[in-house]
Symmetry: C2
Subunit: 408 residues, 2 copies
């Protein structure tokens, strides 16, 4: 397996594009707000959705359109979440109808996604006007993926795109993805928007199984602010054009495919955490030697989700007491008196707690370690063989600034 | 029932004091860091403690000393949490022993509490040196309570003190309290430090029952940052000196006493939320017409605990979509399409959502309402007759600043 270029257009038979049509209040034409991903052939499709009880209309429409596990493309806008507003459901259906008209396909061939402000009616006029130009602009290469990746960004500061290549049954199979996500991000959901394409031949059932397993260990282990969005969705389309023997069981090929998907999604999960709203650094918490993966995950999530840990990381303050405190209220079972904690980054490692008790340490060295772009909080429970890693970011002035007046 | 002055010294037979002994790194003698509350007579005692799995040593020692439901006084320091550090347990025991020496009582006559940095060994030398002067300074009046209230503050910007008076069985009964709490505050615990005194005659069992009921609806409904501390504790001492017929059952007197305690703790809960670290305003979420009090509480807690709602409140942004979104991930059952939301403050009321859908509203009026010191988010579920109110505060630059470098 190796990293390649091309994003969602890396796999055979996919094209993509993104334009500015005018959904975003800002009329700056550089701000793309409408994306389209299309496959030459019908795809096996799978998706995971937010666990929020309040689900945006596009999610319900996508669930319906993907009911039989097939799909041809994805249409998405940024700037308006099309959630909790009059006409939301009709508008999500209409977005698919407009995409169908512009492409000559059927409305139910499309998954649809929206991201942006909640509670304002989505104006379809700019989408209707922009779609023909968007379809004309579709490209089967990295530029097409790049345009689509930009068109789904909201407060993201960097576009998120990745792709990998692997061998399956003597054939080259490719997977690529674009994602957006910066705030309103918290475990236990499909998380943010992520669109994945692959030319792998695989049934929609096996695709759903792989996606479910992978999101649980990647996107669902990211937290930026503890707020689970109404619009989160991760969709994967597989058009089979790689020509590999179709994956129909949990066989070796399935394991290989799933490992590649894990790799792809881990990469994006880390980038989403690192680009958390206002974030100045990526915080990884790895909990090791746990009695179960579930409790390791719960502990790691509590640590990266703690406002006090996040603020301490912003201040490059080796305040490990807050790490232990967050573990304590996670509701996961562990023995505080067994816990070892250390901080690690490119600048080195510093142990700060052994068997639940503070160690004397060099504050200057700790500062040096904690001021790097990526900091790992390593927690060893000394109780078992299981582990889990979760990702988050620091809490900064900019998070408050970005979210203090996002809507207006 | 009426508000009176005097704090923890309002009730007969209690004296209190607070001095600077040197636990706080800052050697500014104006920064008090050692408090003592003492009753002339033995008290019935009850307490609630943090639900954090990592509990600070003083909590275990207090649990032990209060095992038989009796107590004479409370000794507390600020500046060091005496948690997760070598010798924590020995130091908590020794603090009681030192208080006993200085007062001529027994170590097990004392409840002990600490608040401050986690993970650093508490230096007992300044406490030992400071206790005789502290005992000498004890006063049975408002000045004594004031000094003790100051001595338990950490990042608190205002001291928190309150007292009420009521009639029970023809006698005047008084209840008073001091509290501290500003950060690391989240529901489901005894919450922060709160010391309550009363001259009511009541058994320790009934005292425990009243305290449990009241904290569940007051302190456990406050959230500042979602971080449940290792040191939270609320202790109540009742010395019986009011001479009322002792409360031994759930009779009318018990109901009257519990109502007064509810009043006292609601007052302090609101003040703790309003003085949340960096807070510029108190945010109250009242969820009405719910099917159960439990789900109303869960929904209201999710709203005041949402980082995005808190940041929007800081920006005086009427972003009600985030309110509905937070309700959605609370795991409480409700029908989004039935929900009405409005914002209320001293400047008026503005409905922003009806039956789950956004209403057009005057942005200028909304801004005016949301820039007040106290804002109420009123949520009507239109489903039943139950309700719950939770308190929090906005998320500001100052929260990040205070917590970015608290330890050093």
């Amino acid at each position: 397996m190796k990293k390649i270029d091309g994003g969602v257009c890396a796999a055979k038979g996919f094209s993509a594009g993104g334009v500015h049509c005018g959904v975003k209040a800002d009329s700056d034409p550089a701000k793309r707000d409408l994306a389209l991903i299309l496959s030459e052939k019908e795809c096996a499709a799978a998706a995971v959705y937010t666990t929020n009880r309040v689900k945006a209309a596009p999610l319900y429409v996508t669930m319906e359109h993907l009911e039989e596990g097939v799909c041809r493309g994805i249409v998405a806008n940024s700037g308006n979440a099309n959630a909790c507003a009059p006409q939301s459901h009709e508008n999500a259906l209409e977005m698919c109808a407009l995409a169908a008209i512009a492409t000559g396909l059927k409305p139910q061939d499309f998954a649809v996604a929206s991201t942006g402000v909640i509670g304002q009616t989505l104006n379809l006029a700019p989408i209707q006007a922009g779609l023909p130009a968007l379809v004309k602009s579709l490209r089967p290469d990295g530029d097409g993926s790049d345009a689509a990746a930009h068109a789904i960004m909201t407060t993201d500061t960097v576009k998120k795109e990745t792709a990998v290549e692997l061998e399956l049954g003597g054939k080259t199979v490719r997977l690529g993805a674009i994602a957006k996500g910066s705030g309103m991000i918290h475990p236990n959901m499909g998380t943010m928007l992520c669109f994945i394409t692959t030319d792998c031949a695989i049934t929609s059932d096996m695709l759903q199984e792989a996606l479910h397993t992978v999101t649980r260990r990647t996107f669902n282990r990211v937290t930026v602010d503890g707020d689970t969005s109404t619009n989160d969705m991760c969709v994967i389309l597989a058009n089979g054009m790689a020509g590999n023997p179709q994956i129909e069981w949990e066989d070796e090929d399935f394991a290989t495919f799933q490992a590649a998907l894990m790799n792809l999604c881990t990469d994006l999960a880390r980038r989403i955490a690192g680009d958390g709203e206002g974030a100045s650094r990526l915080i990884t918490c790895a909990v090791r030697q746990a009695r179960s993966e579930e409790s390791a995950e719960r502990l790691a999530k509590a640590v990266v989700g703690s406002a006090l840990v996040k603020a301490a990381m912003f201040g490059a303050d080796a305040n490990w007491g807050r790490v232990l405190c967050a573990m304590g209220y996670s509701k996961a079972p562990f023995r505080p008196e067994y816990v070892d904690i250390s901080f690690t980054s490119a600048a080195g490692t510093i142990p700060v707690c052994r068997q639940g008790s503070g160690l004397a340490f060099d504050e200057d060295k700790a500062k040096q370690i904690l001021t790097q772009d990526e900091v790992v909080i390593d927690v060893c429970l000394n109780e078992g063989d299981e582990q889990a890693t979760c990702w988050g970011c620091d809490l900064t002035y900019d998070y408050v600034k970005i979210n203090g007046d996002y809507r207006t």
